[in-house]
Symmetry: C2
Subunit: 223 residues, 2 copies
Amino acid sequence: MTKRVPVVEKIMSANDRIASQNRAILDNASIYSMNLMASPGGGKTSLIELTIKSLDNRLRLAVIDGDVATSIDADRAASAGAVAVQINTGGECHLDAVMLQNALRQVELDKIDLLIVENVGNLICPASFKLGTHKNVLIASIPEGDDKPYKYPGMYRNVDALIINKIDLLPYVPFDMDYFRCGVEVLNPGLITFPLSCSSQEGLDPWISWVLQQTQSNVLPNA
Amino acid sequence: MTKRVPVVEKIMSANDRIASQNRAILDNASIYSMNLMASPGGGKTSLIELTIKSLDNRLRLAVIDGDVATSIDADRAASAGAVAVQINTGGECHLDAVMLQNALRQVELDKIDLLIVENVGNLICPASFKLGTHKNVLIASIPEGDDKPYKYPGMYRNVDALIINKIDLLPYVPFDMDYFRCGVEVLNPGLITFPLSCSSQEGLDPWISWVLQQTQSNVLPNA
């Protein structure tokens, strides 16, 4: 008789339990938090840099950066003015709740209003691992092409906001915005989207306003 | 006492065993094969389409496409003139040797000279799973940024050729080619590279010549 060991289910339920602890840690410290996901090179770090600069100290920001290797991203966030912690996952293709909990121990939580977690560049695996953050935010990137919602439905289905980055490249690459938006709408009806360019900074203001509004409406009731 | 079950090691060695079988199947049929990897939207399908058209029936081609969902890529390869099989991985973030072996059963192997396997769009997980193909080929994409070798070393270390795609976008995005090439050289000294654009078709000829030369030097001795 073959004995089946439900390893994957146990890993996921353990992860979900730690994710709930993370949420409690963040809520107790009145920290609003976002899990930022994208393909490699979608613009996560550029958006974080710009967000830090545009917020201009209106919020006290921490960034926790997940990468397979290097501290390039955390260094960029720190240079832009945030408290920054780098997680190197080794070969792992996503962050999980335990990694985030360990990183949270390195942050003085009572000095932070907003935490942005920059997940590993990947449109598949991060969607399966809850971190305990308040919002999941995805960056789509124009040069990736307009078929990504159709090909990575798990990711597009499970996010709370969608940034459409690199719109400055629209004149140079084939990208049917209607086809793209149709794919998004089927998977995630009414999803709030922010078309913008980290390069030209076009479209940045609505994103910054949303971040401020989300964070302040979370933080104020407990303040 | 806790009993440790080396699940991951067993999965990998089982995968390697099936990958060896795949290689034998391909060699017996005198088929040369490539495992094509990239980020989502790096240009795998576009390159395959162009390769099929540029080879212009000089090789009999099959394409096996791996995606989380949809048959968009296999449909494109079939339209371009190749025998095409789609693998939908469900949630899986990579192809493995078993998936490839199952897909190979759907191809009339004695009618094929070159097999291109289009892996799932991901710079991490596919690097860990041998398929049994003769060459691993990676596509880097200019708008992804110049730091990708540093951040995804496992992928860059284990490939036999590197395509640098979307060079037509170099005027519009920040990309330091020297910094990029330095990262590649450290991880994979002497790696053959093909800078090209699937959009403008600049730089395509050296890639097509290489594919022809590689395939014919493999196929001819057994022909």
